[in-house]
Symmetry: C2
DNA sequence: TAGATTGTTAATCGATTAACAATC
DNA sequence: TAGATTGTTAATCGATTAACAATC
């Protein structure tokens, strides 16, 4: 534990939310064979100011060198540590409809440290089906399986009507984070993280700016 | 056109981004049979302050009544108009993998004013396949079909390596908004809207707050 | 060395909130 | 009328940016 006598202000959530974007861009550059970058280049790529990137990173330490910028490998490692990505997280998908199917089959999770171990569905005709190497489990066994395996994260892909009820069960069983794909606001205790993904909400945000007259 | 002599400050984008959430909650209440609500109730539901809701709405007009609050039907109509949802938008899905399949089959789009007319894929063995009532089109015909039909919005569900190239084609053809599911930052002209949906980015945001020691 | 770029400070800018007169 | 709730103002709070000394 570091100095507990000094009031340490929490790092703004909006800063935390940008770190994964920095990480993604850095890994992209790394895969291109690039070894170093600067706040300027990173900012250009992401459409933000270099000052913002330097300020964001300064919350966590000093990762660069004057004159030369940042070593990509080093910064990637640091960001991974900060975001607690230096471990594998156990993820369950709830709901084996088209979306659950797509999530279970998405290969972007595993190599970024998220291991989908389970997919649950209340439709017993789907139970036993193989989805991306994961076998559909009966909804009845949700609590037992999640508690036993210590699943920390849930991807919630059930109909909106059932999202809150399933959430309550997940929270009670010890899930710490839920990424909700249902078009509904969830209520959870303060120590549980919730992320939202509703494509319609995103589209409705964009239509505001569209020119309705253009074809 | 309203008063063009007075400098009208643009409404903050962060406000626009909350309107779809207000709309979603209002429609939910409406479906529950509720007729009126207040900024207080809406705020409680969405986890934000009543003052913020009133302030946000005040950018667009006066929609409530002292003492009684807001008529849900009326406010829903107003928000729909503001967000340009009083028309049907033509949407194309690009990429007919698992995700494209899920998007084409999602029934949350059509009744909220987004009509998925087309789904494209470069894999000719998929062409002709029926996905949620939409037949897979060859990628070669992207430009011709989108221009002819006046498709305004694209859901981009292609691999990251191809996302920017496809984006360039979409933009050239006149698409005004792109919801990008590929884990990569896109570059577009300023008059084109881009939204991002990368579940890994959202998960990485949440893991920062998780207790790695728990279970 | 000269040029580049960091981390940080202070100023600016913008968003949220508390408070309240108006009024249904 | 009494109670409730709006729309708006001004104060507060927080985030972004410009600028620059430090230094690689």
């Amino acid at each position: 534990m570091s100095n507990s006598l000094v009031a340490m202000p929490a790092i703004p959530d909006i800063v935390i939310g940008r770190l994964p974007l920095y990480l993604r861009a850095l890994i992209y550059m790394k895969n291109q064979g690039q070894l170093t970058t600067s706040s300027n280049e990173l900012g250009r790529r992401l459409g933000m100011s270099s000052a913002q990137i330097r300020k964001d990173l300064s919350h966590f330490g000093e990762f660069g060198k004057q004159g030369t910028g940042y070593h990509i490998n080093y910064l990637v490692d640091q960001l991974r540590q900060i975001l607690k990505l230096d471990q594998e997280w156990r993820v369950a998908v709830i709901g084996a409809g088209f979306l659950g199917h797509a999530l279970a089959n998405y290969n972007g999770f595993i190599h970024r440290g998220f291991h989908i171990s389970w997919i649950f569905d209340s439709d017993i005709t789907k139970v036993g089906e193989d989805m991306g190497g994961v076998v559909v489990q009966p909804m009845d066994e949700l609590e037992e399986t999640i508690a036993r395996e210590g699943t920390q994260i849930a991807l919630l892909a059930v109909p909106a009507e059932r999202a809150q009820a399933v959430t309550d069960r997940l929270v009670k069983t010890g899930v710490q984070a839920i990424l909700n794909y249902a078009p509904i606001n969830l209520t959870v205790p303060p120590d549980v993280q919730v992320g939202y993904s509703d494509p319609v909400v995103q589209l409705q945000h964009m239509t505001y700016y569209l020119d309705a007259s253009r074809s």
